[in-house]
Symmetry: C2
Subunit: 382 residues, 2 copies
């Protein structure tokens, strides 16, 4: 079984091209991790997920602890086996979704008590229980429990949550059972306050983790503020370990974050958008509900190597969306996850070639230029 180890292969400015070795496979970074909330990347088979080039997927501790339950998944051989994904997985700590989804939350030094959004049942999540659940899920990468607050917040509130998250980081580290090829990540908090971010990063580095996440962003703040926060945070993180920006984002957000030193991403956007008729393409996002596509025999991108992107006409995708057919959600999610991986493939190559700035500029220009012009509408065949 390989060691859990980050191999830094190339740097280009602050951008990094690496390889994360884990018990269950290698992850080329920068990487995008599709989100498999309830043990499924919504509307896709794992064969489709694999075909996009994804090397790791994410599972949500909050959802899985409530249904079907962590102990049950453990008895069934862990989350990878349960859902039939043969690569590494990362699970979040559950903290973020307790804050956004659960009812009747009560947070204190010990942890958080909450009611399930499914059946109202009471549950407790402490740093120790979160680590235990992720162990039961057999997560290749485990995340510490942290407190994620809203932006903007008062500085004293941001500082309190950051300090609490640091103490929870220490308890998470203590609770984590090291296994070869498995890793534990700490999470930097501190809102958009660079001094707090720096203290958080240094505090985590002093404890020592296998990777470092930047949490508390992608909660509605402007992109420039997110980038600024990354610029003030990444330099305080060890260069020897992977850096993960949680919950981000749009392709332009991810590309900009890579230029600032981030290695890993996750986001529900490609799959959620896939269920609401949005297709991500190199020419920007398209609304497949739009009538302009109704008679268009062209695929989203004839040069793509994703079947969903290459083999179906826009007219067919439009029809599926309008008819609310499940296959529409499947094909658009597949296309979107593929496009996200395509962006990552491009970034990795560009960093190796020392032209990451140019790649991102070209990508933004291509997305901004917009879609191919519509075809002239043919006369009715009758």
């Amino acid at each position: 079984m390989p060691e859990f180890r980050f191999e830094l292969m190339a740097v280009d400015g602050a951008a990094r091209r690496g390889r994360l070795h884990t018990a269950w496979g290698v992850i080329d970074t920068p990487t995008f991790m599709p989100v498999g909330t309830a043990a499924t990347v919504k509307a896709m088979t794992f064969e489709m997920v694999r075909q996009t080039g994804a090397q790791i997927v994410l599972g949500n501790t909050y959802h899985l602890m409530l249904r079907p339950g962590a102990e049950r998944i453990a008895r069934l051989g862990g989350l990878r086996r349960f859902m039939g994904w043969d690569g590494p997985i990362l699970t979040d700590s559950g903290g973020f979704q307790v804050m956004s989804l659960a009812a009747r939350r009560k947070l204190d030094e010990k942890g958080v008590v909450f009611s399930s959004h499914i059946d109202g049942s009471r549950h407790e999540l402490t740093p120790e229980r979160s680590i235990e659940i992720q162990h039961l899920l057999d997560a290749t990468i485990t995340m510490q429990l942290d407190e994620c607050i809203r932006l903007p917040s008062e500085r004293h509130e941001t500082e309190r949550a950051m300090e609490l998250s640091l103490r929870w980081a220490e308890r998470s580290k203590q609770a984590f059972q090291p296994r070869q090829g498995y890793g534990l990540f700490g999470i930097v908090q501190g809102g958009t306050d660079l001094e707090l971010r720096a203290r958080s990063a240094k505090g985590l580095a002093a404890i020592g983790f296998d990777g470092y996440a930047v949490g508390g962003l992608a909660v509605g703040e402007p992109q420039a503020l997110m980038f600024e926060t990354l610029e003030g945070t990444c330099p305080h993180l060890p260069t020897t370990h992977p850096r993960y920006l949680m919950g981000v984002g749009k392709p332009a957000d991810m590309a900009g974050a890579v230029l600032r030193g981030i290695d890993m991403f996750d986001c529900v956007m490609p799959t959620r958008s896939g269920r609401t008729a949005q297709a991500f393409t190199k020419r920007g996002p398209l609304n497949m509900r739009n009538a302009r596509h109704a008679d268009d025999p062209r695929p989203l991108d004839p040069e793509a190597d994703c079947p969903a992107t290459r083999d179906y006409s826009r007219a067919y995708l439009h029809h599926l969306v309008k008819s609310e057919e499940i296959l529409g959600a499947t094909l658009l999610s597949w296309n979107n996850v593929w496009y996200y991986q395509e962006v990552m493939r491009g970034l990795r190559q560009a960093i190796e070639d020392g032209r990451s700035q140019q790649f991102v500029a070209d990508m933004l220009a291509s997305e901004a230029a917009g879609d191919i012009p519509p075809l002239p509408i043919q006369k009715d065949a009758r």
Copy 2:
């Protein structure tokens, strides 16, 4: 381009093993045709459909004429190309669904005028227009327009509808443009009145079609009555042409119909059931919502060659269904269509081997014996 031609390879009692040659591929009979109502076999990709062994799929004229429109599909290269299915397709005439789905219907000698269930728009369907629409869809097998009445009905009403269907059969034949490798099927009506069925069958044979369907069954009547009607109908149909029992059914219905001389079937049951947690298996139908599956690591059938049937635990399928995840509908639909094809494969082999009666008896016994016993529930890992 091959001729449209039915090759009768073996008979075993009334059961027939054949091959239907068409412009777009060969169909081994007995065959089950998955239903692709709105240009998609619901919740499945066509790659999955193909993997089950399906050789032909069905499209619904009523749905497609309303959305996205037959002329539009024609401009886009026909239904096969539109939806990305490389085999032959059969389209129904639209008549049955006008009767079951449309609002404000008015039927007379000329045809039927109705309102769309989608937007209330008025449409007309005549025998000629139905044939034209199916031509625009580029259906490999076109069905005549018929009038399908409820069971039971008064004899004079059944006779009136049967006679009208015969006159519409004649008009459909006139309207159909013969093309090499393409075929037109007539539809036998007459309710459960064997004298009317015989007159209908003979009338159609006198007009001359490329295949003969039995319509007006599978509308809620007992299985025994359906079988009796088939026994009174099939002997009046040419042995040289394929016979298609429309809208049937459960595996046991299909198997019994094959023993009575039917070659082709279609039904929404495998896909509709797949979206409502039902799994068809050789041990009978299973309700995957049932808590007995929650901890069961076993697949639906470890010996199956369908990934959905073989590679996922019952526990995972149960979880997906309970969580209302799209993948649950996909995997169960895939399993169900595969099982239907497996029944057809078994029937074909059994007819060749002269043991079709025994095969059906064994199949019914296996389905009736019920599911494997549950595993003893393990103790909680904690």
